[in-house]
């Protein structure tokens, strides 16, 4: 395995982990709002959250470009206030991957939140736990299988993200050239087939590993909660 493959693999893993971590708190928050709150605009929020699932990734990439590019309103503010630049950087890839993976994570987490027995939460409150305490000491642990599922799904989705990444963060070796982008570049280059095939094999191995790990984790946590 040569330098190109290593760089792409490490970058993909890094981006996958970072985008999953970035999504997690927001996904839990949004899942909560959709499932438990009585916010008036819930249906609209649901629609917006699920947009990346139905829109072409390139469209998402374009929307990111016009809002988070360095000349765009939000992007310019990020650059001047925090010195953060998203376009052409790994951070941008993380954001693109996070946006694409977000709906998957919200769905999985919301399902697990809906299946938490509210009676247990009431019981916790009778034992002296405040609402926030109940969230951390009872609800979240009971949601763990769903959270882990959602995280693994988001990780796997990030590994395969292409359209939004190439449109928003561009294709810069070492910075934004994840495995899918590396494969794409190889297919465009004359005589790049050998590299492309190696990268494809690597991607498939990674995908299988991720899915296997996800299954194993899910079963372990279900057993820990006595559900199997």
């Amino acid at each position: 395995m040569g330098g190109i493959e290593w760089d792409a693999l490490l970058l993909s893993l890094k981006v996958g982990a970072a985008s999953t971590a970035l999504c997690l708190p927001f996904a839990i928050g949004v899942a909560w709002l959709l499932s438990r709150s009585r916010l008036p605009g819930r249906a609209l929020l649901d629609g917006i959250v699920h947009a990346p699932l139905v829109l072409p990734p390139v469209v998402i990439g374009y929307l990111l470009l016009i809002s988070l590019g360095t000349r765009a309103p939000l992007g310019a503010w990020l650059k001047s206030t925090f010195g953060i630049q998203l376009i052409f950087t790994t951070e941008g890839v993380v954001v693109a991957a996070a946006v694409m993976a977000f709906p998957l994570m919200v769905r999985a987490i919301r399902l697990s939140l809906d299946s938490v027995d509210r009676g247990l939460e009431v019981a916790a409150r009778t034992l002296g736990a405040s609402r926030l305490d109940v969230l951390f000491s009872v609800t979240l642990p009971l949601m763990l299988p769903g959270i882990l599922s959602g995280a693994m799904m988001a990780f796997a989705a990030s590994l395969g993200e292409f359209g939004a990444t190439i449109t928003f963060a561009s294709n810069i070796e070492g910075e934004t050239r994840t495995l899918p982008l590396a494969i794409y570049t190889a297919t465009q280059t004359p005589d790049g087939d050998a590299i492309a095939l190696r990268l494809v094999a690597l991607s498939m191995a990674l995908a299988v590993a991720a899915i296997t790990l996800s299954e194993w984790l899910h079963r372990r946590t279900q057993r820990w909660l006595g559900r199997r």
């Binding site: 009676g119 409150r125 009778t126 034992l127 002296g128």
Partner: protein, 387 residues
């Protein structure tokens, strides 16, 4: 004093509560399913908010509509034992027990060791909730609620989802805990059996209203409450003491203010306080002292009140001297015997009718030394002998 004076509409049920309960001992809330008992204690717990009124427990006001007070559940200092135990699956038994303990503020009066000992949880501490039997789960639930250092314990039909052997296993623990831990208990049940064994104070709830509230034997002996208690189960409650045992015939003699009762042998030492429930349907009356009959328990008294009921029945209250006994007989027999208030009669109760389900630990406070305290049966389930 526990003051419950509130109202709340819940769908078809219009809950109107107005009772004052003692701040010590077990107060039972009895009524049919759907009468509103669970909603009542849920309002006390803070799970349900009343539409108006006041809920006061001792010095603390939990809810007061006029002043806008509504303490959140976790601030009320109550312990709640649910019908379905509701143990946390992600914690071990020890973890569940510690949950409330960790969050209890102030001085801790209920200790870990005493709870584990009283409820027999020692060998269960490392297990997970799904590995426990129904009875074990309820015991852990009770322990968890106790370790929360509550100033009031609420129990919503804790035995309802258990089968008969499990019920018999857990009931003694509940009897013991109210005594051991000296805290007021609100006990919801639709089983008169449980109520008579556990309660000091009885509240009858019917169609959302608290229709009767008073000392247990007093309420039980009033004929006007018979329809609410249920014809099958209504009767009297007598507090007795164990006098002696007859091992040849496996009988125990109990003594009370107005005489003696012989019952199938119970496993208690002489001097132990016992409570006996005598179903009205098991009491027969005679004008003269019955001779040559198999019935062992014969107690003289005077007819106090006769209440005809629908169908063939008549409810007769007999004054034994210091206690009353209720008898359910036919109206025909009433007329035939010419029974009137004041008529001297002999009451008869079959010993066989006073089975283990009718005899239990007394709820009276002991003046005797702890050495005379009844022990728990060695094997949980032992009292459930053939009925």
């Amino acid at each position: 004093m526990i003051e419950l004076n509130f109202g709340r509409k819940l769908g078809a049920l219009d809950l109107q509560v107005d009772v004052t309960l003692p701040s010590r001992g077990v107060s039972a809330l009895f009524g049919r399913s759907g009468a509103g008992k669970s909603s009542l204690i849920n309002a006390v717990a803070g799970i349900v908010r009343p539409d108006h009124g006041r809920i006061r427990v001792g010095e603390r006001v939990f809810y007061d509509h006029d002043s806008g007070t509504d303490l959140p559940i976790e601030a009320r200092g109550i312990g709640y034992v649910f019908q379905d135990a509701r143990l946390f699956p992600h914690l071990s038994v020890a973890g569940n027990l510690r949950y409330g303990l960790k969050r209890a503020r102030g001085t801790h009066t209920v200790g870990w060791d005493s709870v584990v000992e009283v409820l027999g949880l020692d060998h269960l501490l490392d297990r997970r909730p799904w590995n426990l039997s129904g009875g074990e789960r309820q015991r852990v639930a009770i322990g968890r609620a106790l370790l929360r250092q509550p100033s009031l314990l609420l129990m919503d039909e804790p035995l309802a989802s258990l089968d008969a052997p499990r019920k018999a296993e857990v009931l003694p623990y509940i009897e013991r805990l109210a005594r051991e831990f000296a805290l007021p208990v609100l006990y919801v049940s639709h089983s008169i059996e449980e109520v008579t064994r556990l309660a000091d104070h009885l509240v009858i709830v019917s169609e959302g209203r608290t229709v009767a509230s008073g000392e247990l034997s007093d309420i039980m002996s009033r004929p006007e409450h018979a329809p609410l208690i249920g014809r099958y189960e209504a009767g009297s409650v007598l507090d007795c003491t164990v006098l002696q045992h007859n091992d040849d015939y496996a009988l125990t003699t109990l003594r009370f203010a107005d005489g003696q009762l012989r019952v199938p042998r119970i496993d208690l030492d002489p001097g132990a306080p016992v409570r006996v429930r005598i179903r009205a349907r098991d009491v027969a009356l005679a004008l003269s002292r019955p001779m040559d009959v198999s019935i062992v328990n014969k107690l003289p008294g005077r007819v106090q009140q006769i209440t005809p009921r629908d169908g063939p029945y008549a409810d007769v209250t007999v004054d034994l001297g210091s206690r009353t006994l209720r008898a359910l007989i036919t109206r025909e027999s009433c007329d035939r015997l010419g029974l009137q208030p004041g008529t001297p009669v002999w009451t008869m109760v079959k010993s066989v009718a006073l089975d283990s389900r009718s005899v239990g630990f007394s709820r009276r406070p002991r003046s005797a030394s702890p050495a005379q305290a009844p022990d728990l049966p060695q094997k949980p389930g032992a009292p459930a002998e053939a009925d």
